[in-house]
Structure formats: C-alpha cells, structure tokens
C-alpha cells in the first residue's frame, strides 16, 4: 500500500548484477552532498538496506529525494520514495550500477576562497521507475575540498567560486569539460574567466550561447575582488 507519508525509516532495494557485491552504501537526502551528511545504510539482507534517520531526519515522501553512493565505484541517479503507510517506511529502489568512470575530485584555490558546488543529476536511462532529475550541492572547505563520486556521464558538476553557501539554481564552472584524468588542471584567474566564457559560448551555462562581453567583464571583476590567483582541480582516482 503506497501513500504519501512522513517518516524517519527508509528501506532501500538495490537491483542489478552487482548489488550483492556492495559493502558500503550511503544515502544522500535532499541533495545535501557533504560527505559527513551522507547516511550509512545497514544491510538488511541481499541487496536490501535500511536506515533510521531519527527524529531530526524525518522525511516526507512527497517532497524528499534520494540518491546512493556505493563503496568507491558508483553513484546513482535521484529517486523519490514510495510511502508504505502500513509499515510507516519510505521505500526506495535503485539500479546498480552505471558502468561509467567514477572520479573523486579535489579542488584547491589560491588565495583560499569559499567554494561550493552543484551537481545537476539526470535520471539514468536504465532506471525502471521513480527516477527524477535533481540537484545536489555541497560546500568545500575554505581554499580546498573534495567532490566525491562524480560520474560525468550522468551529471553536470558546477563549481561556484566565491560562494559560501551553495546555490542550487546557479550554474558555475562546469567541471565535466575540463578535468584531466592524468594530472592536475591549473587555471589562472584569466584562465578561469576564459573557460567560463567558453562554456557560456557553448551554451553549457544554462543560458543561450552567448559571447557576452559584459559577462566576461563581471567575471573578471568578481575574481579580482576575491583575489583569486589560481584554482587547481585534480582527479584523485
């Protein structure tokens, strides 16, 4: 029996050939992607996992959305839960696992400035039910931090330079395009302004393709005010 409920109990079914291999499964709730906010799930049998979010973690199946992080090899798309009113549990089903490269990224800025990120996650084409497009977001420590479990095939990851609080509706520097697997990408302030301009011109900034001179000037002004000298983006694995 499905209904819209508010509960702190979550039951997760993971499908797919590799579901039996999973050792650690983490739940991301409502897009809060900071690693210490991930909720580690407890095994409840083969391919089944549960969690009790506690009173403070109570969620509404109508509004909340979820995604999973699997060990060190995959992430999932986002889903809404089906409410089981009888058991008072939010039930979720995810497919494991997209066979695309997974990267953990490290971002460092000089001088240290606040950096946030937003992930625009698309539903997986292999998902049978319940997948939705969603945004997830996180805050990096001042000047340095990591973005874990990125799979560019299914998400756009935007870096927001100079923002202390993530803005889920604001794009930024699209990382999918620019990270290099072998080594570290170093972008000077001018390089960042140029890269932002290129992404706008390519229509990757959630705006029509534009060669806006004013946008370039404002970017340049903003990064100068932040005294940002350079940003490093490194693939950790």
């Amino acid at each position: 029996m499905q209904a819209q409920i508010t509960t702190s109990r979550v039951s997760v079914l993971v499908t797919g050939k590799r579901c039996g291999e999973l050792k650690k499964v983490f739940l991301v709730v409502n897009g809060e992607d900071v690693e210490d906010r991930w909720i580690r799930l407890e095994s409840a049998g083969t391919c089944r996992w549960t969690a009790d979010l506690g009173e403070e973690g109570s969620i509404s199946t109508k509004q909340s959305y979820f995604s999973l992080r699997f060990d060190d090899f995959a992430r999932t798309d986002c889903h809404r839960a089906a409410g089981n009113a009888e058991k008072l549990v939010a039930e979720l089903e995810f497919a494991c696992c997209a066979d695309t490269p997974l990267r953990n990224l490290r971002v460092k800025t000089e001088l240290p400035i606040p950096v946030t990120y937003v992930r625009d996650v698309r539903p997986s084409p292999t998902t049978r039910v319940g997948a939705i497009r969603c945004t997830e977001y996180g805050v990096l420590g001042a000047g340095s931090g990591a973005i874990a479990h990125t799979q560019f095939a299914s998400e756009d990851v935007f870096l927001q330079l100079g923002n202390a609080v993530p803005q889920p509706k604001l794009p930024g520097l699209l990382l999918d395009d620019i990270v290099v697997d072998d080594g570290k990408l170093v972008l000077t302030r001018d390089g960042l302004v140029y890269r932002l301009a290129v992404q706008r011109a390519q229509g990757k900034s959630r705006t029509p393709p534009t060669l806006s001179s004013n946008a370039i000037s404002v970017d340049s002004k903003k990064l100068s005010a932040l005294k940002l000298e350079r940003a490093e983006i490194e693939v950790l694995k």
Binding site: I132, R133, R206, T210, S212, S217, A225
Partner: protein
C-alpha cells in the same frame, strides 16, 4: 567622392536587418544569477569597421564603413536597461548614395547618430528538477534621422527623414533528445517619415525573424571562440514567399582578459528578396574591438 552612382540594392536588404542587432553591438547577456540580482552597471565602447554593412537597419554607407558605438547597461534583479549610441560613417566621409534607376537623380543620405533604448527581463525556465535555463526577452526602441539630398541638374533638394524602430525579441529554448536548441524570435516595425511628397525615404515595414544560436566552438591554444548563427525571416512589402530573408553569420571572438578588450571578426552574408522579387546578396564583414570603460557590481562583497 562621387563615384558612379551606386545602386544600393541593399535598399531592401538593409531593412531586412531591422529585427536584428547591429553587427557591431556585442552581446550583453548577463545571467542575474551571476550577480545574485545585485545592481550592476557596465559601460562599453566599441570601435571598428565594416564592409558592405547593412546590419544597422539603416541604409548602407558604401563599401567601407567605420563606426563608434557606446553601450551602457544597467542590471538589477531580473531586469536590464540599456542606452546605446552609434555613429556610423563611410570611410571616405561621404554619405550613402542611391540611384533607383539609370538616369534618375542620385540621392545622398547621411545618417545621424542612432539612439537605442532597451528594456529586458530575464526569466528562468524550469528543467524538471535540474538547474533552470535562463532566457531573456527584450523591447528595443531606436531612433535615427537621415539628412537627404537629391542631386539634380538644378539646385539640390534637401530634407530629413526620421526613422523609428520598435522591436521585441525573446530567447527560445527546447530540447531534442539530450541537445539544447537555443534561438531568438524577433518582431519589429520600422517607420520612416518626414520626406516631402514625391521624395523618397518614407516607408513602413514589419519583420519577423528567427535566429538559431548554435553552440560555439573554441580553439583554446589561440583562445578564440567561433560562433555560428542562422537567421531566417519574413519582411513585409517584399516579394517572394513567406521567408524572404536568409542570413547566416559566423563570428570569431578573441577575449584579451588582461586588457579587458575583446576582438570580434564577423562574416555575415545576407540573402534577401527585393521589391522586384529577386534574391539579392550582401556579403557583410565587420571587425571591431570592444572594451569596458566602467564595470561595477554594487553591493558585491566577496565572501572570504
């Protein structure tokens, strides 16, 4: 100065561009999310030259044209207001020349400064849970006068024509599969008045155009971007079918971040039907440099 009387086939071709921005008017799209909706002001100067330019919605000035353009843009929340002033002159300092037919008098038309006011608003389009797409709609009002002179055997006749254009353009967006398709839809009306009876210059014309804005290419070693666009449209009082304008363009853009200057090289051939139901071609080429004179984002306190 006075060469063989130029038959400006672009009399009509020029007007085809009424619904478009002048070639030398650089993009000024500024996503309000970037400034957090804070007020921002950018003043910019543009200097350049063009060949066969008809993109200012005015009579061409001849083969070679120079121009100076000053643009002032004020952004606040989801709104944008602009005041722009343009000076366009033929390289040899002469006015445009017209001769409708052989053995008719030559007409010189010297444009004065063009003033443009824009009001625009940005509006987000939901993407079903993802980051919204930000589009812009804009109303444009332009005004320009022309001093005309008819070279006849006797004393030359002189008169002024006032031209006003009102245009509305809006960005469009839809998806085909995983691909975004962006464009701009524009409607405009231009009215030129003031010419005495029997003398040329008065006209009224409406245009409806769609410009597809393809994603740009970049060549990072040289730090250049290449942007293709394609405009098609229909203009009233013309021959041909509903579509009597085809205007592709390719723009090579090189920002010089350190100096704040940007170089633009544009090639924009324009095919349009004239009043005699014939397709005419104009090969427009423009080169210009723009540079911000003043940039201010008010209330921007960088978070540290």
């Amino acid at each position: 100065m006075i060469r063989t009387a130029t038959i400006l086939v672009a009399f009509l071709t020029a007007a085809t561009a009424l619904a478009q921005r002048p070639l030398f008017d650089p993009d000024d799209f500024l996503d309000p999310r970037e400034t957090g909706g804070r007020p921002a002001f950018v003043s910019r100067v543009i200097i350049g030259g063009a060949s066969n330019m008809s993109g200012d919605g005015f009579r061409p000035l001849g083969k070679q044209t120079g121009y100076v353009h000053l643009s002032n843009s004020f952004y606040w929340r989801s709104l944008q207001f602009d005041y722009k002033r343009s000076e366009t002159r033929a390289v040899d300092g002469e006015a445009a020349q017209w001769q409708r037919q052989e053995r008719t008098p030559v007409r010189n038309a010297t444009p004065e400064s063009k003033d443009t006011l824009n009001a625009a608003w940005y509006w987000p389009v939901p993407t079903g849970g993802g980051i919204p797409v930000m589009l812009r709609s804009r109303v444009t009002f332009t005004r320009q006068s022309t001093e005309n002179e008819l070279l006849t055997a006797g004393a030359p006749m002189q008169w002024s024509v006032r031209e006003r254009t009102v245009a509305l353009d809006t960005d469009t967006w839809f998806r085909i599969g995983r691909h975004d398709v962006f464009g701009s839809l524009a409607v405009s009306e231009t009215k030129a008045t003031g010419a005495p009876n029997g003398l040329p210059g008065n006209r009224k014309e409406r245009a409806l155009t769609y410009t597809n804005r393809f994603p740009s290419f970049s060549y990072d070693r040289a730090r250049i971007m290449i942007r293709p666009t394609l405009t098609v449209g229909g203009i009233s009082n013309r021959g041909g079918s509903a579509v009597n304008l085809v205007n592709p363009a390719i723009e090579i853009f090189r920002p010089f971040i350190r100096t704040g200057a940007n170089l633009h090289v544009i090639y924009s051939p324009q095919w349009a039907v004239d009043a005699n139901d014939r397709w005419q071609t104009t090969h427009q080429v423009a080169v210009y440099v723009d540079r911000a004179l003043f940039v201010k984002v008010f209330g921007a306190t960088p978070a540290r």
